[in-house]
Amino acid sequence: MITKIVSKNFEILNSHTMAVALENGRYASLENLFLQKPREIIDTISQSGLRGKGGGGAHAGSKWQLAADTQGTKYLVVNADESEPGTFKDRQILSKDPHLLIEGIICTCYAIGSHISYIYVRGEYEEFSDILQSAIDEAYEKNIIGSGAQYPLDITVHRGGGAYICGEKSALLESLEGNRGHPRLKPHTPQAESYFGEPALVNNVETIASVPFIVENGAEAYRAYGTEKSPGTLLFALSGHVEKPGVYEAEFGLGMWEYIHTLGGGVKNGKMLKAVIPGGASTPILPAHLVQEAKLDYESLKSLGTELGTGGMILLDEDASMVKALKNLLRFYHHESCGQCTPCREGTSWVDKTLDKFIAKTATTEDLKILKSVSKSMNGKTICVFAPAASGVINGFLKHFENEFLECIQ
């Protein structure tokens, strides 16, 4: 059931070092890369149907095209801010196969015409950042990157200050420019992101790490996996009440329950499943009966009222308190809201504090109304999708598990 494209070298000892990486096929795609024109590479990526793996699922090809077509000094910014509860896939790449990421960066930069790349690493990922940096140093020594490389390219690691919101691409760019990590107002027409006024392409670590396979083997080889609309593979992850938590790469389209059962060994201690948060903390919860129906691709989960997100599944067993689970999530949103937009700044704090009353079983029907109405105010009236996502999380819990909340009312 496991399909190894990105995770191919994960289990090899010292796979993060240049010698071992080269032995195991890293940088092999570069030969094929330089035989083709940048245009052709973008076309291949478009044909492969590669979708962004940072949570949004945007088509990589069209984003690359936009960046390539925009005049100016181009930047590739790799999003390694991975800070969402339940999402811990990018760290595997950073620590176990950083050369795959570097290889992907070379391919991407060549395709869009960029000679400068930044990797924005989550503040707390100090250890992974060090591993990545030593891999970059090795690549410079070998003239795989740097001014002496076949394609001159500089890669700089930038460590964040520890804010979840800096994973949002425009906040990330603000932060990289030295400003507060506040998301920007979205442009009215599709356009490349901007870094100091110059065009920038922002992609997730795993998206970039998927590129070498496609460059080396072609679009069809990638499309051989997954579904028509969600081609390829994803580093799905399991956490929570599961026997074998971890990151297991698989093709899109598998049954969610099958995946959990086969790769995760089922629910911990043989208990019954109550629900799964399917794609990292910011996706609406799926109760057990819908988990049986769900397929691991963008379209199936959307049709069930949730999202694939980053594919990081959090399991909750029959004994889990949904009130406490929601409290846990809301504390996160309260802590991480950047505080720009009124509905998000005030709303995340209000719902979090209101949940304390449910935990203490001193809530009133008024408090349940507050949860619902504040959640409504948070949806669709903000600069970035942080608040709408938080709103979706609340709505999901209330939709499927309202009875548990009613039990906490005096």
Partner: protein
């Protein structure tokens, strides 16, 4: 191009911001973070409108108008949206309006009356933040009243580029502040008080002195330098003092000062409360004096065009040599609003052909037997030995040996100024008369 807003057809230009169109046409659109001279930031979400064809309400400060756009600002749905945003905005507000200086000119109060009018739903404790924090440059901060619209921080980062103010913290602990050990300190700092839509930033110079609803306003021009920034003079007449000028506020003029003033000009209102309180000399004596032989007059370059004209006529009739010397200060100008020429009206002086030559003035001063000084600072406090002198003054002067006539300062007069860019502007008198006559009235009596 035309669009419709609440069934009213409005002429505008393609690509204009919807909120600008509404503000320019006096259509009520609640907003905190948008400011015509700071631009859009989109954070407060108060300016929601319904756009025909759009699924969700949109913010007017980030909507560009297109042909035949149909906008609805009043409907049950949109009012509910605004009510809910306002409720969130006010959630952790201390509601200390009775002791807040902004009361009466606070957008939270205004919008609450328009869209709020609900009972508080809050059943959890309020978030506490800092109060009465001195930021520097007369500016006081109350973090609990702040709606985090970032107007003030955008002003210091984008307009003055001094960057003293910033937002510290995230989520509901986000608050405005200065870096430790630093203070708000730039020649335009007090603008943030006016930019702040609520009572979070108040002026140490003004706070707790007046309730704004007791103030009257006149349209005027700052006389601090040749820029001619447009101001509103806020004043009233209290029981114990004669009429008092309490503050200058910027009056928007997109061509000159946008919505800003320098602190020097803003605080120059104080001079207007220092009018001449003594007894003026007798007009008959002055008429006698004017029969002297060698006469010289020096006029302030900050007098109005009308005042300068009246002086010029007087000088022509009585054969008086008239001069006007500019108030020049190399250290004042800054390439933005402040100009090195601190005369409010030098352009009018030049237009009237009044002599501004220092050497000619010095020579004439040597010779003169009678000196008339029209409010010029150079000669105001000067002793003239055995020469006779007459002071025409808009400010208080201690009793002196010479002759002295008080006249009303520009707050109490109406007149015309021409600024450094040749723009002619009028300023208007307050409703109250000064005890002193206007200069034109005074000179009229000498006819």
């Amino acid at each position: 191009m035309r669009i419709t807003i609440d069934d009213i057809s409005i002429e505008c230009e393609e690509g204009e911001l919807l909120i600008d169109v509404m503000l320019n046409n006096n259509i009520n659109i609640p907003h905190f973070c948008y400011h015509q001279d700071l631009g859009a930031d989109g954070n407060c979400r108060m300016c929601m409108v319904e756009i025909k064809g759009a699924k969700r309400p949109q913010i007017a400060c980030d909507t560009f108008v297109k042909e035949n756009l149909e906008v609805i600002t009043k409907s049950e749905n949109i009012n509910e949206v605004k009510r809910s945003i306002l409720e969130l905005e006010l959630l952790n507000h201390p509601v200390d309006c009775p002791i807040c200086d902004q009361a009466g000119e606070c957008k939270l109060q205004d919008y609450y009356m328009d869209y709020g009018l609900y009972e508080s739903h809050l059943t959890t404790p309020k978030t506490k933040k800092g109060k009465a924090i001195e930021l520097g440059s007369n500016v006081m901060l109350d973090q609990e009243r702040c709606v985090l619209c970032t107007r003030c921080t955008r002003f210091t980062s984008e307009i003055t580029k001094t960057g003293e103010l910033g937002i510290i913290g995230r989520g509901d602990s986000a608050r405005v502040g200065v870096a430790p050990g630093h203070e708000l300190n730039n020649p335009y700092a007090m603008n943030v008080v006016e930019l702040c839509p609520v009572g979070a930033l108040t002026s140490k110079d003004f706070r707790f002195k007046q309730r704004v609803w007791f103030l009257d306003t006149s349209k005027s021009i700052c006389h601090g330098c040749s820029r001619g920034c447009n101001i509103s003079i806020d004043y009233n007449e209290t029981k114990y003092t004669r009429e008092k000028i309490h503050r200058f506020r910027a009056r928007r003029n997109a061509r000159i000062n946008q919505s800003f003033l320098c602190d020097y000009g803003r605080l120059s209102y104080k001079e207007l409360n220092n009018s001449f309180k003594g007894t003026s000399s007798s007009i008959e004596d002055l008429k006698e004096l004017l029969k002297e032989d060698k006469k010289l007059a020096l006029a302030s370059p900050s007098l109005s065009l009308e005042q300068l004209q009246a002086i010029q006529t007087l000088c022509q009739t009585h054969n008086i040599k008239l001069f006007c010397l500019a108030y020049y200060d190399e250290s004042f100008g800054d390439g933005w609003l402040k100009t090195n020429d601190k005369s409010a009206n030098l352009a009018s002086v030049k237009k009237l052909g009044i002599c501004t030559c220092q050497e000619e003035f010095d020579a004439a001063l040597q010779e003169a037997e009678l000196i008339l000084n029209f409010d010029h600072t150079l000669l105001k406090h000067q002793e003239f030995g055995n020469k006779k002198s007459v002071q025409f003054t808009s400010t208080h002067l201690p009793p002196a040996c010479g002759y002295c006539f008080g006249f009303a300062n520009f707050a109490h007069d109406t007149g015309t100024l021409i600024n450094c860019e040749g723009i002619t502007q009028k300023f208007y008198a307050t409703r109250f008369r000064d005890k002193n006559p206007s200069l034109s009235e005074l000179l009229e009596q000498l006819r």
